[in-house]
Symmetry: C2
Subunit: 190 residues, 2 copies
């Protein structure tokens, strides 16, 4: 497909709009990362060929969905900080991040599938989120709402651990434990 | 081997003393649950035949080691309560339990190996530990040292999640996060 043709423009718009990624995300959460390509293409309202043209390998699509989600998490940091006091912004952000990790069960399984395409990706994503959470932690500590000295890296990892599917934990388990960690951050202040 | 013979008595004593299980635990932690039987027998100072006589299957031995460890955790509850104030007893117990779960990496892998001998075992072990931690939590809440309303089951599961080997977490990661959970329990009191 040559650049500049109407078709290429339409396809680029589609890609940029994220509608393919949104469709893929929805299908992955519902049916796992090995769901048929047609299911994703149908939901996005495109042909299977378009899907394969942009994401030749399934791992390409999984990685793009994860990146897209992480972009959203990163954007949420400054947005929440602008709209709320530092403690609320931190709490909301951690709640969203927990939700993000928790709904990525199929994606998480893919990350541990042994496919070398995914090697290093979890640490890369953690690294992208680290500055956002660090800024939220610093602002809340400066406001006296939480203690200093707990690293963003520890918290990002702790949430990821608490969101791994276990045996018989209810859907609210991760959020309850993350809330308890936040209370731990608050302990000893004020 | 007929009961009452000197040999049977010696073997029983060996079994009861836990030395076989201690040896198995040491070898499992160092080399994984698939370590050669001879390594375990040598460390316990017995023949391989004795090991197989008591634990015909490797899963028998893994389960016995886990039960033995959980017995120790259960015994530690009242001991710590008798020796310390309720908050210290709770903190010490959770620290020991975290250590117990953290050093059972090879055992944990066995539990997820798909061997049907291990089906249901994690929940059974959680169930045995639940009353011990519940008592510690109640005592600490009665003393006003922690809040009410966080279940032993949640905490036992949270520690187990935080002890699953991750990518690049240092050895102290689990204990730091468990300490933060304990601070969360303390938040809002006194």
């Amino acid at each position: 497909v040559a650049d500049g043709t109407p078709r290429a423009k339409r396809v680029d718009a589609l890609r940029n709009s994220g509608s393919l990624l949104d469709a893929a995300k929805t299908v992955f959460v519902a049916s796992g990362v090995d769901a048929p390509a047609k299911q994703i293409a149908d939901l996005a309202g495109v042909g299977v060929g378009t899907l394969y043209r942009h994401y030749p390998l399934r791992s390409d699509l999984v990685i793009a969905v994860l990146e897209h989600e992480v972009d959203d998490c990163i954007a949420a940091g400054p947005e929440l900080s602008a709209a709320h006091d530092p403690l609320t912004a931190l709490t909301e952000w951690l709640t969203r991040y927990t939700e993000f990790v928790g709904t990525k069960r199929g994606l998480a399984a893919a990350l541990h599938s042994g496919d070398p395409a995914f090697d290093g990706l979890p640490l890369y994503l953690l690294g992208r989120l680290d500055p956002v959470l660090s800024a939220l932690l610093e602002a809340a500590a400066s406001a006296g709402s939480i203690r200093n000295g707990v690293s963003a890296d520890d918290l990002l990892r702790a949430v990821a651990h608490l969101c791994v599917p276990g045996r018989g934990e209810g859907p609210e388990f991760s959020q309850r434990m993350v809330a308890l960690l936040i209370d731990g951050l608050r302990f000893g202040t004020a």
